[in-house]
């Protein structure tokens, strides 16, 4: 084991002195991650406002007024959408919550002696903390309606008239109560008359009214809030559902760039193996008291260590930029199995030519194609279905997929087994084939 490490350290030293190799292994992928990460637009937008979708199914003056009150509130960004779109948009994560105004809303909203108007709220499950804030916002907007009703008594009068008639017609109410109530309604009508008179002569300070409305909020139920379920996405496999988990451009750009780093290492080490032959140093190693499997293991371990170093560096950088892997343990599992896979692939790839140029060129060619289909250039989710199917045969896809699983897809350990298992299997098989081919070539 000690000898294998000595061999590996020598290889790491050699690779670290190869400036161009280092560029492709580290600098290029980092630049790529930074570039794509900064142009990709995912996750919450820059403004701190709570993005809310509103669906007004009432479309009465009162409900319009309510929507306007919401829009005037600087804490929320309001987009009006049809009902299904509004709910979907929350499911996709585009909006933090949805407010649905049912058709009867305008009849009773803001009328404090009537039943509280129904209203439906839905909230992104990951933003439960903001539920209270949203509800408060709704109440404030309805509170504004109460104030409006008093400011515009004309709209109240028919309501009072209706109520009075209702009370008088309702036989279930005992007569004395009926008398009391209709007297109250009459005096309310009188109150409104006098408000109108005051308004016509002088402008009342709206501040007083506002205070009153605010005070009323504590004691009265201004709205009857029911929550609707927006937590379950209709199709968890849909592109929208998948992308809703992405929190920032770094989430996508780093796994993508990390596979390029992996391929830089593979190309670097495949070339190093050939270089060992063209320089003749391989002869020296063959004469040393090391077995051929130790020599191979030395290369494998060196390549693996190099991969781990490069990937760790990139992850640290990403974390510095704000990327937060959902599961660190799974991320370790992911990069370890990616390492096994590509160390395994490196061996047969190193046999594709006799000169460094030939191997380096061929390996980069193959890697570029693998990257193209595996999501190293365009994320697999954005690809047409038949290419997505093809990409299942591409280890790069599984490497990206497993890293994404740990970083933002929120995989469980069981979900992680598929990509990591495939990577390890591909690595092991090509390790065996590669060792066999190398020993055959040497014989």
């Amino acid at each position: 084991m000690k000898r294998i490490l000595i061999l590996s350290l020598k290889d790491l030293k050699l690779i670290s002195r190869d400036k161009l190799g280092m560029f492709f292994m580290l600098a290029f992928p980092v630049l790529m991650a930074l570039f794509f990460g900064s142009i990709m637009n995912f996750g919450p937008s820059g403004s701190n406002a709570l993005k809310i979708a509103v669906c007004d199914r009432d479309r009465s003056p009162v409900s319009r007024r309510f929507v306007k009150n919401l829009q005037d509130n600087e804490v929320v960004d309001v987009d009006e959408l049809p009902r299904e779109d509004a709910v979907d948009s929350v499911r996709r994560g585009s909006h933090a919550g949805v407010i649905i105004i049912p058709p009867e809303f305008g009849m009773t909203a803001g009328v404090i002696w009537k039943d509280a108007p129904p209203i439906h709220l839905g909230l992104d499950p990951s933003r439960r903390a903001e539920a209270g804030m949203l509800e408060g916002m709704v109440m404030q907007a309805i509170g504004g309606l109460v104030m409006d009703r008093f400011q515009d008594p004309a709209t109240l009068r028919p309501l009072i008239e209706d109520s009075r008639k209702e009370i008088q017609a309702d036989d279930s109410v005992p007569l004395p109560t009926r008398v009391v109530l209709s007297t109250m309604m009459e005096s309310l009508a009188g109150l409104i008359d006098s408000i109108e008179q005051v308004q016509s002569t002088a402008d009342t300070a709206p501040g007083d009214m506002e205070q009153e409305a605010a005070r009323g909020r504590g004691e009265l139920r201004l709205a009857s809030v029911t929550y609707i379920d927006v937590s379950r996405s209709p199709d968890p496999g849909s592109r929208a559902a998948i992308l809703s988990k992405v929190r920032s451009g770094w989430d996508v750009s780093f796994p993508q760039a990390m596979v390029w780093a992996v391929m830089g290492c593979v190309a670097g080490f495949a070339t190093l193996i050939v270089r060992e032959n063209t320089l003749g140093t391989h002869t020296r190693l063959l004469v040393s008291p090391l077995t051929r499997s130790q020599l191979l293991a030395g290369k494998g371990v060196a390549c693996f260590l190099c991969l781990m170093l490069v990937l760790t560096t990139m992850i640290m950088l990403a974390v510095g930029l704000g990327m937060r892997p959902r599961r660190w343990d799974l991320l370790v599992l992911s990069i370890a199995s990616t390492g096994v896979c590509f160390v395994g692939l490196m061996l047969p790839l190193s046999l594709l030519g006799r000169t460094e140029q030939a191997v380096s060129g061929t390996v980069w060619g193959i890697c570029t194609v693998m990257a193209m289909f595996g999501g190293g250039m365009v994320p697999v989710v954005f690809m047409p279905p038949f290419i997505q199917t093809l990409s299942n045969f591409d280890p790069v896809k599984w490497a990206v997929y497993s890293m994404e699983g740990a970083i933002w897809r929120g995989f469980t350990f069981t979900e992680m087994l598929l990509p990591c298992g495939i990577l390890t299997a591909v690595g092991t098989v090509s390790l065996v084939i590669g060792s066999w081919m190398i020993s055959r070539r040497q014989a």
Binding site: R3, L14, R17, T283, R284, V287, S288, P289, T291
Partner: protein
């Protein structure tokens, strides 16, 4: 120490080594002499276990060089330089020493000694790619000796080395011999074989044509020595063989000195005398009908 029996090797379609056998005893230097493509390198590769012979056996210290254990006793300076160009001389030597499991202190001493051996102490921190051809050659030899092996194989170690460094290298090799190391040495150069080797094997087309001590080879295959010169005008012309009308003479004999003395005693007076002893070139010529080197 080294026992090679009837080894054969076909590379591609060429029968590179054909039924080669030789023994080397401890402390001996065996030279392999042969033209390009004779099969010297292929033989050495089988000797150190890089190549597996198609037939025959190789034993080093009773062990098979294909076993990692046996290779502990072996050091090789391959014909093609085999050094890490991006590493410095010191790093190359240290890495190899570590592979052979030298302890840290011992390794430091050995690296120091080998840098001296290669006369690269002041360039030890420069990467090998910045060295001249001769410097690389010297380091290539030093790398073979880092673990002080009992059996050392040098494959044309002095190609491209200037005469001064070459003498330095020969002194070191003689020192190794004095310390009881067993050495196999291939070369195109007669002078080297004549100066260093106890025995010489002449190879061509994958076969060993002859193997003996230098003197043995010369007497068996070198043919007679050539004595030529010019006689004094007034001496016994008739007593000397091969005399021309202008008194110059040329004859061949197996015992040139004795013959010259005998002639002198019998009254022949030499104005000019030159004795051409047979050399390996002549040996090679007589064995193959070809000259060893084209130049």
């Amino acid at each position: 120490m080294i026992k090679v029996q009837n080894i054969c090797k076909t590379l591609g379609t060429t029968l590179a080594v054909n039924d080669v056998s030789f023994d080397v005893t401890a402390g001996e230097i065996l030279g392999l002499l042969g033209p390009n493509g004779a099969g010297k390198t292929t033989t050495l590769n089988m000797l150190v276990g890089i190549l597996q012979p198609d037939g025959g056996t190789v034993r080093i210290n009773e062990g098979n060089p294909c076993d990692a254990g046996t290779r502990h006793y072996l050091g090789i300076a391959p014909q093609g330089l085999s050094l890490y160009e991006e590493l410095t001389a010191q790093e190359n030597l240290t890495f190899l020493g570590q592979l052979y499991g030298l302890s840290a202190g011992h390794l430091r001493d050995r690296v120091h000694e080998m840098l001296e051996f290669a006369a690269l102490t002041d360039r030890r921190k420069h990467p090998v790619r910045t060295y001249s051809g001769g410097m690389k050659r010297r380091l290539n030899m030093a790398a073979a000796l880092i673990h002080d092996p009992e059996v050392v194989v040098f494959d044309e170690p002095t190609v491209g080395v200037d005469p001064q460094s070459r003498n330095h290298i020969f002194d070191r090799i003689e020192e190794l011999k004095k310390n009881g190391r067993t050495i196999v040495y291939t070369t195109h150069y007669m002078e080297e074989a004549q100066r260093l080797c106890d025995r010489v094997a002449v190879m061509d087309h994958g076969r060993i044509l002859a193997m003996d001590t230098l003197g043995g080879l010369l007497t068996t295959y070198g043919g007679a020595a050539i004595v030529k010169g010019e006689l004094e005008p007034d001496c016994q012309l008739a007593a000397c063989p091969g005399v021309e009308a202008d008194r110059s003479f040329r004859f061949s004999t197996n015992e040139p000195v004795r013959e010259v003395v005998r002639l002198s005693e019998s009254g022949v007076a030499f104005k000019a005398l030159q004795i051409n002893q047979p050399d390996l070139e002549a040996v090679f010529l007589s064995l193959t009908g070809r000259s060893l080197r084209d130049d």
